[in-house]
C-alpha cells in the first residue's frame, strides 16, 4: 500500500535532504524516511559541499528520521569522520527518544560524533568552537 506512494516519488537524481548554508555552517534537514541510496547521496553531497563552501560546521537534523538502523548509523559515523578529515565539525541533532532506545537495544553507537537535542544547541556548540568566534 505504501509502495505505490513511494514509487510515485521521483527519486533518481533528486536530493532527498535539503542542505542549506547558514553563516559558516551547513544545515541538512532530513524530512522523511531515507533509503540506503538516499543516505549515501546525503553523505556525498555534504562532503562535496563542505569543500566547495568551506563550511566550518555541519549540522544534520534527523528529527524526522523514522529509524536509525545499522546502515543509517554507519552513514552518520562516516559523515562525521569524513567531515573531520576535511577540517570541519559535525553535529547530529534531534535523535528521538524511541529511536535512541532502539539504537541502544541494537548495540549501535555514534561514538566520537557530537549529538545535541535541538538545532539551537547545535549552533551554540559549533559557534563557540567551530570557527573560533563566539556569538556576541
Amino acid at each position: 500500500m505504501n509502495r505505490s506512494s513511494l514509487d510515485s516519488t521521483p527519486r533518481r537524481g533528486l536530493m532527498q535532504v535539503p542542505i542549506l548554508k547558514q553563516g559558516s555552517h551547513l544545515i541538512a534537514t532530513v524530512q522523511s524516511a531515507l533509503t540506503d541510496a538516499d543516505l549515501v547521496q546525503l553523505r556525498d553531497a555534504i562532503v562535496e559541499q563542505v569543500g566547495r563552501t568551506r563550511a566550518r560546521g555541519v549540522i544534520i537534523d534527523v528529527t524526522a528520521l523514522d529509524v536509525m538502523d545499522s546502515f543509517a548509523t554507519a552513514m552518520m559515523r562516516d559523515i562525521a569522520q569524513m567531515i573531520r578529515l576535511r577540517g570541519a565539525r559535525t553535529v547530529i541533532v534531534g535523535i528521538q527518544p524511541e529511536v535512541a532506545f532502539a539504537m541502544v537495544q541494537m548495540g549501535l553507537t555514534l561514538e566520537g560524533v557530537t549529538t545535541t537535542l535541538d538545532l539551537e544547541e547545535a549552533l551554540e556548540h559549533l559557534g563557540e568552537r567551530g570557527d573560533g568566534k563566539r556569538k556576541p
Binding site: 513511494l6 533509503t35 538502523d69 545499522s70 524511541e98 541494537m106
Partner: protein, 138 residues
C-alpha cells in the same frame, strides 16, 4: 475497504533498498493499528529494517511478511523475513554480539532479538534463511 479494520497480514517483496523502507513503514503502520505505542512501533520498524536489509545484502531477494497475532486477549505482531539465499554458515556466531553489529554489513541479529519478544532463526547453507520474530502489546 473498511478503514477501521486492522489488516491482518501484509507482505513486502524485498529486492531494493526502497523495499526496506516500504517494509518498515508497513510494519510500523500495522503495529500502531494493533495498539502498539509509537515507541514500540519504532522498535518493530527498526527490527524490520534490519531484517529486510539482511535479505538484500545476503540473498538479494526475499520477502517480509507481517501478521497480526491474537492470543488470550493479547495482540501482537509476527514478522517473518524469508529468503532463498546462501543461508548463514555459522548461525550460532551470527547470534553473538559483536560478530555483526559493530561492522557495517553486520547481520544485526542479536540486536533484532533484543528489540522483539521472541526470535527464531532457521537457516542452513544452500537452503536460505528465515527469521521469525514476535512482539506483544503490553
Amino acid at each position: 475497504m473498511n478503514p477501521e479494520a486492522v489488516a491482518t497480514e501484509s507482505r513486502v517483496v524485498v529486492e531494493s533498498d526502497r523495499d526496506i523502507v516500504s517494509a518498515r513503514q508497513q510494519g510500523r503502520h500495522m503495529a500502531v493499528q494493533l495498539g502498539f505505542s509509537p515507541g514500540s512501533a519504532t522498535l518493530i520498524a527498526t527490527a524490520i529494517s534490519e531484517l529486510a536489509r539482511n535479505i538484500l545484502l545476503y540473498a538479494r531477494r526475499g520477502e517480509v511478511t507481517m501478521r497480526m497475532l491474537e492470543s488470550n486477549g493479547s495482540r501482537g505482531i509476527a514478522v517473518e523475513a524469508r529468503d532463498e539465499g546462501p543461508g548463514i554458515p555459522q548461525p550460532q556466531r551470527a547470534l553473538e554480539d559483536g560478530f555483526s553489529t559493530s561492522g557495517r554489513l553486520g547481520l544485526g541479529l542479536p540486536g533484532v532479538k533484543r528489540l522483539m519478544d521472541d526470535f527464531r532463526l532457521d537457516t542452513a547453507p544452500g537452503r536460505g534463511t528465515t527469521v521469525m520474530v514476535r512482539k506483544w502489546v503490553r
